[in-house]
């Protein structure tokens, strides 16, 4: 260590008159913080692996769980998360360009690249919000428990619900009323509560209505847990065509509660074992919080750059330090992406 400090003049030394690793105090402490934070994330991801490894149920598969795109709907496996990953990598690149501009004392360049980084960060946080929204709301089909006790997730295109026609009056609706609002929401609530029997839905006010719905397309059941008849071989079997349709609607319209689960919350989810959703919320949430705080720190440093604080100081080391944190956030995402979405 001491050998390296020979190249530094007295101005560059720490209080103890040496400069460990020829690096500044702030930068070294940032590295130590990042190592401890990396251990936190490492611990979280390893506990995820632990739970997945000792779980007896079939674990959700990334490309089946995450296949939605904004404006385009379902059927685009992993595309959206790939876009998110790309956004974060690009914002990491703009950050390293800001650091490089800082080394040349190019204040304009630093400002430009810092602003680009902040925009990328906001895009990523927003994307994660969208991802959570979809994860919580789930698919249109949900996870279904078939009549023989088998549990299946469902893929395909859900035929649009046109309307409910009231056949038996309740406290609010009269006979013959045609309801056209909030159909999907009402339908899913009723299905989960077991309020649909043979195509007749019981509405909130107690009235009964028939459902007018378009046909589903390419309906496919993927058996996650075997039942008496529909056994799962190697934890997986697919049922398609008319048989899938029959099994699905038989269960959905059975009039029994909790045969179908839509989306995810902290008690149940449609994707797989409950720990899966817990880990998803905690790990991506914790990472999202890091991204958000990174954006806030970047904004503060960017204001400092614009005000010329670091230019007067003679070096842009603050940009470098906040850059370290920003790259770390990207680094963590690389691992979250692999373990949550790919494997």
């Amino acid at each position: 260590m001491a050998g390296h400090t020979a190249a530094l003049d007295s101005k560059t030394l720490w209080g103890g008159k040496i400069s460990p690793f020829s690096t500044s105090y702030g930068k070294l402490m940032m590295w130590f913080f990042l190592v401890s934070d990396a251990l936190t994330f490492g611990g979280l991801l390893i506990s995820y692996g632990f739970t997945r490894h000792d779980c007896l149920e079939a674990w959700p598969i990334g490309e089946e769980t995450f296949n939605s795109m904004p404006f385009l709907g379902h059927g685009y496996p992993l595309l959206y998360v790939a876009l998110m990953t790309f956004i974060l990598i690009i914002s990491s690149v703009t950050m390293v360009l800001a650091v490089e501009a800082g080394h040349r004392m190019d204040r304009k360049g630093v400002t430009k690249w810092m602003i680009a980084t902040i925009i990328g960060g906001f895009f990523f946080v927003g994307s994660q919000g969208w991802e959570w929204y979809h994860f919580i709301h789930g698919s249109e089909f949900g996870k279904i428990e078939l009549s023989d006790g088998a549990v299946a997730i469902v893929k395909g295109h859900f035929g649009e619900i046109k309307n409910f026609t009231v056949t038996e009056a309740g406290s609010h609706h009269k006979k013959g009323d045609v309801i056209k609002e909030d159909l999907m929401h009402t339908f899913q609530h009723a299905a989960a509560a077991g309020h649909i029997t043979n195509g007749v839905i019981i509405l909130h006010d107690g009235s009964k209505a028939s459902i007018t719905k378009e046909k589903d397309h390419e309906l496919k059941l993927i058996i996650k847990k075997g039942g008496k008849v529909n056994k799962a071989s190697k934890g997986k079997r697919e049922i398609t065509g008319r048989k899938a349709e029959k099994l699905y609607y038989e269960a959905l319209y059975s009039g029994e509660a909790n045969r179908v689960i839509y989306g995810a919350n902290l008690k149940q989810n449609e994707y797989g074992p409950q720990q899966y959703a817990q880990f998803f919320f905690f790990i991506t949430g914790f990472h999202g919080f890091h991204v958000f705080s990174g954006v806030v720190i970047n904004i503060i440093i960017c204001l400092g750059v614009v005000a010329g604080t670091y230019h007067k100081r003679g070096h842009y080391e603050m940009v470098e330090k906040t850059g370290l944190y920003w790259h770390f956030v990207d680094l963590v995402w690389v691992f979250v992406f692999t373990f949550f979405y790919l494997l």
């Binding site: 260590m1 390296h4 190249a7 530094l8 560059t12 720490w14 209080g15 400069s19 690793f21 020829s22 690096t23 500044s24 105090y25 702030g26 930068k27 590295w31 190592v35 990396a38 251990l39 611990g43 390893i46 692996g49 632990f50 739970t51 490894h53 000792d54 007896l56 990334g62 490309e63 496996p77 992993l78 595309l79 790309f86 990598i89 990491s92 690149v93 950050m95 390293v96 360009l97 650091v99 490089e100 501009a101 080394h103 040349r104 190697k234 100081r313 070096h315 080391e317 470098e320 850059g323 790259h327 990207d330 680094l331 690389v334 691992f335 992406f337 692999t338 979405y341 790919l342 494997l343």
Partner: protein, 121 residues
């Protein structure tokens, strides 16, 4: 007292315009590489199903590509490759010792717990 956070400590806090051009070239190269790796990962993930016979190979490919990406981010973007050799060791060696141990022990225990659960279910 003098504010020690204002003093410039690092040896390489500045570089020339010519050096900058060189560094930027390297940054763009790494960007393209990371993008390509991500595209490969997504295509593999979307195309190859988990019950395919080739899946174990794909799984290890994912892990290798992840380590590759992480390596480029840490060494180039975070400039750890440009720091002193001993700083690299101080950061990487303890981390890897802890994490490899944790991975080993977690998977070992999970296997054991699963066999117990299987026995009683």
């Amino acid at each position: 007292m003098e504010r020690d956070d204002l003093i410039e400590y690092s040896l390489d806090a500045h570089h020339s315009e010519e050096k900058g051009v060189e560094i930027r070239k390297k940054i763009y190269k790494v960007t393209i590489l990371l993008t390509i790796v991500t595209i490969i990962e997504v295509v593999l993930g979307a195309v190859i199903k988990q019950d395919a016979s080739i899946w174990p190979l794909v799984k290890w490919t994912f892990l290798a590509l992840t380590i590759l990406k992480a390596g480029y981010i840490v060494m180039v973007f975070m400039h750890l490759g440009d720091e002193r050799k001993w700083l690299r060791y101080v950061i990487l060696v303890p981390y890897f010792i802890f994490i490899l141990y944790l991975i080993f022990i977690a998977l070992w225990e999970a296997t054991s717990i699963k066999s117990v659960l299987n026995y009683f279910s």
